[in-house]
Every structure is written in structure tokens, then in C-alpha cells.
């Protein structure tokens, strides 16, 4: 009985020892020399693997930085400037400061503004609905409200508002761009967060002429061009009956907002305006 144990132990030890010797030499022969800085950079990254930097995960991002040898053109939206500065310190390089961005939903075609004329009876997916029909409200550019963007977000930074049927972006959005890719109608845009989180944007992507656009949605951009005329900084352009505010030129003066006849221009996080009554306005003009 004891002998059986003995043979087994001896043979296994012998097998293990031989294999160890072979494996040692094999490991020497096929050793992969990896830059130790990759691990250092990887540890400094958030590890969310969101793909917002344009690379396949954080490690690929770290590898690409080391390969490039400089931080030019690299930015981590999940970690922001803080992460990039710490990476720069670790590598002794210089990171360019980037403006933090956030996703904005450029559609306000809620159930009230764009009431449903037909009902979708089919798969619960924006991609499919976009291929199938124009939308319940009739607007062929607007939000379909089936939450492809919400499903694409790994940061839980976007949710569907049950009252309006539109998605709402939360403050913890880091602008990785997953929802921008998921939206089949290119409604979501990444824009600069702006000073004190203040933003002004045209909340519509409808490129139809005024009348058909307004017919389907009461808050559609009708391409009247009033905002373009009133903007003192030439930040607003009109293309295909649709106004677009360039966030790099916009100085957040808010002149365009009251000018819009359909309330298509949105301002976010601004203090409430002074309410000017008609009497005051009359005295002011005198």
C-alpha cells in the first residue's frame, strides 16, 4: 500500500521537475519584453474601458501613449484633465488641457410637443424603428424614444423621462460618445460643458422646411434665421433649414433664446431671467 503512494509521489515530482526545467528555458526563449511604463499608465487610468478615448479599452490606450511617445492627441474623457495630468507626471510629458464635454439631446419632441399619430407595434429598439418608420409623432428626424442611448451608457448617466418620453443626460456624463454612436438619428451631440455648466443649443435636428416641421412638432426649428441675425458673435449658422450653435464661438449671451419663435433654443443652468412686464417695457422705451 505504502509503495503505491511512494511511486505516485516520486513520479509526479520527477515529472514536475522536468517540466519546470523545460518551461524555464522556454520562458527565457520566448520572453516578451514589455515597457514597464504601460502598467504604470494603465494603473493611473480609470479602468472603465468605455472607449471614449477612441481606443479599445484602457490598456490599449496606455500602450498607444507609450508607442506614440507623447500625449498629443490623447485624452481620457472618463478621468478628465486630472487623470491626464497624473499620467503626464508619471511619464514626464506634457498633457494639453481639454475642455470637459457632455452629451446633449437635441430633440424636444416630447409626447406633448409632438403627439403620437401612429403607434409602433414591434421590436423595442431605435435602430429598428428608424429603419421601419418616421416615428410616432411623425417627425422623421426626431427622437424615437426607445432608449437605445440608455442601453448603450455604461455610466448610468442617461435615463428616459417617463413624462416626455425623451432621454435626459445626468451630470455624471463623461462624454464617452457611446450614446452618440447608438442613436440612429444623430440627435445626441457632445458639446463643451461650458462655464458653470451653462449651455445653449438648438434642441432640434429637423432639416425639413418650416411648415412640415412645425406640423409634426410645435418646438421644431423652422429655419427662420432670426437667431442667426441676432447673434453678435456669428456663432449660429443655418444649414438645410436648421440652425446650429457653434459652442466654441458662443459666449452664452442668451440673446437668441427669446428670439426663437418656436422655443427651439435651449438654455441650461442659467439663473432665471428678470421678468420684464409690459408696463416696465413701455416706460423703458419712453
Amino acid at each position: 500500500m505504502n509503495e503505491t503512494f511512494l511511486y505516485a509521489v516520486i513520479s509526479l515530482v520527477a515529472l514536475g521537475a522536468t517540466s519546470a526545467v523545460i518551461l524555464f528555458f522556454v520562458a527565457q526563449k520566448f520572453k516578451v519584453i514589455e515597457d514597464p511604463r504601460i502598467d504604470i499608465v494603465n494603473d493611473a487610468l480609470p479602468g472603465a474601458n468605455c472607449g471614449g478615448c477612441g481606443f479599445a479599452g484602457c490598456r490599449n490606450f496606455a500602450e498607444s501613449i507609450i508607442k506614440a511617445g507623447s500625449l498629443e492627441g490623447f485624452s481620457c474623457p472618463a478621468g478628465g484633465n486630472a487623470t491626464m495630468t497624473s499620467v503626464a507626471e508619471l511619464l514626464g510629458m506634457v498633457a494639453a488641457e481639454t475642455e470637459p464635454q457632455i452629451a446633449v439631446i437635441r430633440c424636444n419632441g416630447s409626447m406633448i410637443n409632438s403627439p403620437a399619430k401612429v403607434q409602433l407595434d414591434g421590436a423595442d429598439s431605435c435602430a429598428f424603428a428608424h429603419y421601419l418608420f418616421a416615428g410616432e409623432g411623425g417627425c422623421s428626424h426626431g427622437c424615437l424614444g426607445l432608449a437605445d442611448c440608455v442601453r448603450s451608457c455604461i455610466f448610468d448617466a442617461i435615463y428616459m423621462d417617463s413624462e416626455s418620453g425623451l432621454p435626459i443626460v445626468k451630470d455624471n456624463c463623461i462624454a464617452c460618445g457611446a450614446c452618440v454612436k447608438a442613436c440612429p438619428r444623430a440627435i445626441i451631440e457632445l458639446r463643451d460643458k461650458g462655464k458653470k455648466d451653462r449651455r445653449i443649443f438648438v434642441s432640434c435636428v429637423n432639416q425639413e422646411k418650416g411648415a412640415p416641421a412645425k406640423k409634426n412638432c410645435s418646438v421644431a426649428c423652422i429655419g427662420c434665421g432670426k437667431c442667426v441675425k441676432v447673434c453678435p458673435f456669428e456663432a449660429i449658422t443655418m444649414n438645410n433649414n436648421l440652425a446650429y450653435i457653434d459652442y466654441s464661438k458662443c459666449k452664452l449671451c442668451r440673446k437668441c433664446v427669446p428670439e426663437c419663435p418656436t422655443d427651439a433654443i435651449h438654455e441650461l443652468n442659467f439663473p432665471p431671467r428678470k421678468i420684464v412686464t409690459t408696463e416696465e417695457a413701455a416706460t423703458a422705451s419712453v
Binding site: 421590436a123 429598439s125 429603419y131 421601419l132 412640415p212
Partner: protein
């Protein structure tokens, strides 16, 4: 009895309008003639606002190779050339015509007299089909003259005429075979001459014994044409299924029927070809079945292209209060329309209106891996897999699993015990894969 090899389902036939003779629908006040009525490139409008047109006058012309001419279905004045909302709600270009009287172009022979002598040559037939704007009337609306122009090195052996009408509810082809059988047979002879083939096979599902008998009695006068009864099984009328059933030949994946020496045309197309070649009459009207649980008088109507669907529904007696879904086409492959203002186009074979109760889809449940969809797929695909791949955006998998071979017959979704939207995702996947293939080529 002959049938195809793989899969298939047997939905309730519900051909309630089969015994109703074709009625002529009164002219509407206004028609909307879409410029994109065929598979392929849309046509280019030749008329402008204020132009007066006659029935049969060319109003839009084909510019691309796969495209077709469009003729005015009514006489009157062009109101405008503008966008209209198509059945999906998207804007597409169309010609709007106000109807005034019913003044036919003088070259068109409107008499009932049957002309059986085929005087044109093969190339003349193809050219005239192109001029007259003939497209496949089975539903896919592929320009018919392109089908007859065989690629170099290919030779057709058989002309196959599709009289199967396997979609439940629809009876327009059935009525056509019964009422205009002789004209249709001449149309088949014309197509045979155009293709330069000696044999034509007509396939008809066995649930239409009267049509089979009517055509069989005519066969003696038309050499080279055979009529075959086929098993009642959906989708017997699929092009590839029909070839398999009649000739036991299999069309390779991604290839056209000409690969196995066949060209398939619908009975409706054969009749339209007869009218175009022998009577000089372009494709300006077609037979549409109006049926469904919401319709009081289900029937078959001869309708001018461009007539709003509403006119048809009012004629057949629908109840807008209880109507749940209006479907363009059959219940298996048709798509719901978003408005009753959409016009009848060359590809409209039927309009179905279901009551609210009947039109509801069952609640979607999780896939239980029963593989029923795999066993009924007539193309031998794995619908659950392609649908899932499309759902999560893995279109490479969908492509590798031959999503492009799917013909959207809907058998998988019909049979799914969990009522999963398989066809929805398959259609999306096909669309995306087709786009990927196109971009790869460029």
C-alpha cells in the same frame, strides 16, 4: 404533391374574398403617384405643375438601369411635384394629379377584344416592356424588362409563372387567373418569346382548384405551358421555393434564379405584359384585395395606381372606430401603414384591416431555445441567431450566418412560442449587412 424541401408553415388561409369578382373602383378626385415605385432607382419626373395629362401618358422616366417608367394613371392636371408621406411616414417625391374626366391616350386599345397574335420580336418585347413601365407585381416590384435581359453566358431554360399566392387573405392573383386566364396565358407566351425559352411552368397552390382547372383547360391552345398544382404550404410562392418545388433545383446562396436556368414572374406581371404588348396599355392599374376582420365587404378591386388607400377602404366598408392595424400586403410579409392617405402603388397586392383585438402582438418573452424557428425557416437559416446578432449590433455574425439569404417570409416569427420579434431584427440586420457590403465594395 409537389412542394419545397425545407421548413414552411401553414397559417390559416382565410381567403374570404376568393369568390368575389373583380370590381372597378370609381376614379378618385386626386391621385398621388410616387416616383419610387420599383425596386432600384426612383424615376425622374417629366411633368411640372399645371401640365395636363392623359391616362397612359409618360410622366416619369427611368434613368438608371434598374428603374422603370411611370405613366399617368388618370387624366387631369398636375397639381404639383412634391414630397408625400409614404406608408412609413418618411417623405418621398411624388406627382400629385387632380383628376378631370377619364381621357385615355389615343394609342391605347381599351376594347375587351383578345389579341392573340404576337407580332414583336424578342428585343422589341423587352424594349416595349421597359417603355410601358412593367414591374413585378408579386410585391417586390423588380423592373420586369431587366429580368428578361440575361447576363452574358447565361441561358434560360424555363419560364416559371408564380400563381401560388401563398399569403393568407390575398386573392387578387386567384381572381385574375379565373377572370383573365386567356389574356394571362398570352402574356406568358409573350414572356417566353422575350426570353427565348420553349417551356413555361405555372405553379398554383392546391387551394385554388377552380384556377387550376381554368388554366389547365386553356393549356391545349398554348404549347409549351404546363400547369402544376402545389401543396398548400407557406411560403410556396417564394421564388426559390417555387423553383425547388417545380424543378427540384436549388438556387445557390446569394445568386439569382437564372443560375439554375429559370426566370420567375408573377401571373399579375404576365397579364400586365399582355396588356402592354398587345394593347399598348402601360401599367396604370392593378387588382388589389381589400379584406380583414374590420372590412364588411371583403373584395377584389381594379384600382388606378395612386388612388389613396382610404377610397378603397370606404368602398369596402371599414370601421375606423374599431380598426387596429392597416397592413399593406399580406399578413405574413406586409407592413402596417401610418396613414390612410398613402396611395396604392404598383406593388400593392392587398390592403388588410384588422380589428384592434386581432392586431395586437402577444407579449414578448425570453427565447426558450426550442429551435422551432430553425425548423420552419425555408432558407435553412438560424433566425434566432441572426436576430440576436442584429439586436446587439454584431452585424458581422449576421453576415456570416447568411442574413442576406433571408427573404423576410416571417415563418420564424409566426411559429415562435415566445412571440419574439425575430423578423423585425432580421430586417434590421439585413438592412445593415447590405449597407456594410455596399460600403465594402466602394
Amino acid at each position: 404533391m409537389k412542394t419545397f424541401a425545407l421548413g414552411g408553415v401553414h397559417p390559416e388561409e382565410a381567403k374570404v374574398s376568393a369568390a368575389k369578382a373583380v370590381e372597378i373602383l370609381p376614379l378618385p378626385q386626386k391621385v398621388i403617384v410616387p416616383l419610387g415605385q420599383n425596386l432600384g432607382a426612383p424615376s425622374k419626373a417629366l411633368v411640372k405643375k399645371g401640365d395636363e395629362v392623359k391616362v397612359g401618358q409618360l410622366i416619369a422616366t427611368a434613368e438608371a438601369f434598374i428603374s422603370s417608367n411611370i405613366h399617368s394613371p388618370v387624366s387631369g392636371k398636375v397639381e404639383k411635384v412634391d414630397d408625400y408621406l409614404d406608408s412609413t411616414g418618411y417623405r418621398r417625391p411624388a406627382i400629385f394629379i387632380d383628376v378631370i374626366g377619364d381621357d385615355w391616350d389615343s394609342t391605347i386599345d381599351t376594347s375587351k377584344e383578345i389579341v392573340s397574335e404576337i407580332s414583336l420580336s424578342s428585343t422589341e418585347i423587352i424594349q416595349k416592356m421597359k417603355d410601358m413601365g412593367i414591374v413585378g407585381l408579386g410585391g417586390a416590384t423588380f423592373p420586369s424588362h431587366v429580368k428578361l435581359m440575361l447576363p452574358d453566358g447565361k441561358k434560360a431554360e424555363y419560364l416559371i409563372i408564380n400563381g401560388v399566392e401563398c399569403e393568407p387573405y390575398l386573392t387578387s392573383d386567384h381572381r385574375l387567373m379565373l377572370e383573365r386566364g386567356e389574356e394571362m396565358m398570352i402574356g406568358v407566351r409573350i414572356l417566353m418569346k422575350g426570353l427565348q425559352v420553349q417551356k413555361a411552368l405555372i405553379g398554383i397552390e392546391a387551394n385554388k382548384p377552380d384556377a387550376i382547372q381554368a388554366l389547365t383547360s386553356l393549356v391545349a391552345h398554348f404549347p409549351g405551358i404546363e400547369v402544376h398544382a402545389l401543396k398548400v404550404q407557406y411560403p410556396q410562392g417564394g421564388e426559390k421555393q417555387l423553383i425547388k418545388a417545380l424543378l427540384n433545383r436549388e438556387v445557390p446562396s446569394g445568386k439569382l434564379p437564372i443560375e439554375v436556368g429559370c426566370v420567375v414572374n408573377n401571373v399579375g406581371t404576365a397579364f400586365a405584359v399582355y396588356e402592354a404588348i398587345q394593347k399598348n396599355k402601360p401599367l396604370v392599374e392593378r387588382i388589389v384585395t381589400v379584406t380583414g376582420s374590420n372590412i364588411q365587404n371583403p373584395g377584389n378591386y381594379l384600382v388606378r395606381i395612386g388612388t389613396p388607400v382610404r377610397e378603397l377602404l370606404e368602398k369596402a366598408g371599414w370601421n375606423p372606430e374599431t380598426a387596429g392595424k392597416i397592413i399593406n400586403g399580406g399578413p405574413m410579409m406586409g407592413k402596417a401603414v401610418s396613414s390612410t392617405d398613402v396611395p396604392v402603388v404598383k406593388g400593392t397586392s392587398g390592403i388588410l384591416v384588422f380589428d384592434q383585438e386581432e392586431s395586437k402582438r402577444p407579449n414578448v418573452q425570453a427565447c426558450i431555445r426550442c429551435a422551432k424557428c430553425v425548423s420552419v425557416c425555408p432558407m435553412g437559416l438560424e433566425p434566432y441567431l441572426i436576430a440576436r446578432a442584429s439586436e446587439i449590433g454584431m452585424y458581422e455574425i449576421a453576415e456570416n450566418e447568411h442574413a442576406m439569404d433571408c427573404m423576410e417570409c416571417g415563418s420564424c416569427q409566426y411559429t415562435c412560442p415566445s412571440a419574439r420579434p425575430l423578423l423585425d431584427h432580421l430586417r434590421l440586420g439585413k438592412n445593415k449587412v447590405a449597407h456594410i457590403i455596399r460600403t465594402r465594395k466602394n
